[in-house]
């Protein structure tokens, strides 16, 4: 149906204010990127030189050659990649059972799942750490992965998506001789790719940006991830703001690229995971 609009949108005061807020969101990112491309001194003068056409790459040279950047990148990549992979594996399997199977205790388990979705994870900070320590999972990358799996949301998302797949398709597969597992791998998983993709990206970014848990778990210097490393860079309070900005930009840019490429998944993932309004 064509939408009829009587009052045509025009430039209103709230529209102008919106653009001010948009600018306020973009200014820190601009400063991060341009500041990382400037000699250190330019950020100590008033007014600072933030001209984007006069830049140097000295800070990046330093960060790449003098700091263990590749190690930090590798650690972060491993942690977030494994979190994304395991979250998708665990969530899709459980999501399938909740969406399409009938089993004893399903309602109870699903209620528990919903309850844990709302459970604030951070209140478990201390007991989780002690449990991880007693399982000798602390100070290991794989330990961080296993203890960071926040699968309740993932299971719910997969369940919501898989419920929309037609049952006839699965029945046809069963008639053609598929058992539960081959139906899952050959029919359900391929059809659920949009939801699984969104879930993988969400978990990857959450794993990449997580600070507190990785900070608590990883004490060995060689195991530091990007956020921890750049936090130390800034807390050492050295006067090299250029290096700090370069580190921050290197932590932020991969996520910005992933976000821009997979933008559509995000909007979809957010609305599927929440309620219908």
């Amino acid at each position: 149906m064509r939408k009829i609009r009587l009052n045509k949108p025009k430039i209103t005061p709230s529209f102008v204010i919106l653009w001010i807020f948009i600018a306020m969101c973009l200014v820190p990112l601009y400063i991060m990127i341009i500041g990382s491309l400037k000699p250190n001194m330019t950020l100590f003068v008033i007014p600072p030189d933030l001209n984007p056409f006069d830049v140097i790459i000295k800070n990046y040279e330093y960060v790449f050659t003098k700091l263990n950047l590749f190690q930090w990148y590798g650690n972060s990549l491993f942690i977030s990649g494994m979190i994304a992979l395991l979250t998708v594996v665990v969530s899709s399997a459980a999501g399938y059972a909740f969406a399409k199977k009938r089993f004893f205790g399903k309602k109870v388990w699903f209620a528990i799942l919903l309850a844990t979705m709302m459970l604030p994870r951070q209140i478990l900070l201390v007991p989780n750490f002690l449990v991880a320590k007693s399982l000798t999972l602390n100070d290991s990358l794989m330990g961080v992965v296993l203890t960071s799996l926040n699968v309740a949301f993932g299971v719910f998302l997969c369940k919501q998506f898989m419920s929309t797949l037609p049952n006839e398709m699965m029945e046809a597969a069963q008639i053609d001789g598929c058992n539960d597992f081959s139906t899952f791998f050959r029919i359900v998983l391929p059809l659920s790719m949009p939801a699984l993709g969104a879930l993988a990206i969400f978990s990857f970014i959450a794993g990449w940006n997580d600070f507190l848990w990785q900070y608590v778990m990883l004490t060995t210097k060689s195991l530091r991830t990007m956020p921890i490393a750049i936090a130390f860079l800034s807390q050492e309070k050295i006067a090299y703001i250029g290096y700090q900005m370069a580190g921050a930009a290197l932590c932020a840019i991969p996520m910005i690229i992933i976000f821009i490429i997979f933008q559509r998944y995000f909007i979809k993932g957010i609305t599927v995971g929440a309620v219908k309004g």
Partner: protein, 297 residues
């Protein structure tokens, strides 16, 4: 007779298969959620550090309520929540309303911009903010100089530091509500507004009488998730102000972190975790009760 035996067998098979499918989730849930949850309550009753574990009953809780630092952190967290929660709701509702009915390209551009702050590591942004709000050389000093105002020590004065920390947390939390409200607005049939216009209802009346009631489920969701999130503020105060000035921005989670991982008082910190859980549960319960609508549209 034979068929019921067969279906019984089939049902058993389906049960086994289903449990195999949910086993990985059950393991993660059991080991890293359910067990720590119970364990947290248990160790809150102990004088628990890495050397000794002595049962002391409710001693930790008794000490908590006479611990001025802890009371102070509750107050600081509530003050931040008082800014973050209404701020998030009003701001995201306002943005979604402003871009609604605008060009599609503008809608997605706005969502992308606000989402950028949420996907960029908070640690990375805190580094930039540290520079912006440095009274000696930051961008804020440039602006106050240009306005011929005295320079302000933003992060050194609690009257500025607390609202500032809250604003920066808010900047991370608004993106999801904006998208959710956008989707909720799109679900409202245009005919409602057409009818209202025929009755010559004002824009404001249309908003309060049609839009707001119809998006109530979204508001409930946003309200509860924002509350849960902002009661657990940690990263921005820890990195930007280190809980200062004079512990003015020390959140509850920051207190838990310090007691557990700096002083090694795990039992005491676990008791704080229990109190935080109770606070969150009370908030969520009353918000759910208050915003739940019996009316179905």
């Amino acid at each position: 007779m034979k068929s019921t035996v067969l279906s019984k067998k089939r049902r058993l098979k389906e049960n086994i298969a289903s449990y195999l499918f949910i086993t990985p989730w059950l393991l993660v849930f059991g080991v890293f959620v359910a067990y720590p949850f119970v364990y947290g309550f248990v160790i809150s009753l102990f004088d628990f550090d890495l050397v000794k574990q002595t049962f002391i009953g409710l001693e930790n809780y008794k000490n908590l309520f006479s611990d001025e630092m802890f009371i102070n952190s509750i107050l600081a967290t509530l003050k931040m929540c008082a800014i973050i929660i209404p701020g998030t709701i009003i701001f995201s509702l306002w943005v979604a309303n402003t871009i609604h009915n605008r060009r599609k390209s503008l809608q997605s551009f706005t969502k992308v911009v606000f989402y950028l702050s949420a996907i960029v590591s908070e640690v990375a942004l805190v580094i930039v903010w540290q520079w912006i709000f440095n009274p000696g050389y930051g961008l804020s000093a440039t602006i106050t100089d240009a306005l011929k105002m005295p320079r302000i020590d933003w992060l050194g004065d609690v009257n500025f530091a607390l609202p500032l920390v809250s604003y920066l947390v808010l900047a991370f939390t608004v993106s999801q509500p904006i998208v959710l409200y956008g989707a909720a607005f799109n679900n409202i049939p245009d005919t409602y507004y057409e009818a209202a216009r025929i009755d010559s209802a004002s824009q404001w009346k249309q908003f309060t009488k049609i839009t707001l009631p119809l998006i109530k489920p979204t508001t409930t969701f946003v309200l509860i998730t924002t509350t849960i999130g902002s009661l657990q503020v940690f990263m921005v105060p820890y990195l930007l102000t280190a809980g200062g000035p004079a512990d003015g921005t020390t959140s509850i989670l920051l207190m838990i972190f310090r007691n557990a991982f700096e002083y090694g008082k795990y039992g005491y910190a676990a008791a704080m975790g229990v109190i935080l859980f109770i606070i969150i549960a009370i908030f969520a319960f009353f918000q759910f009760k208050a915003t739940k609508s019996d009316v179905q549209y």
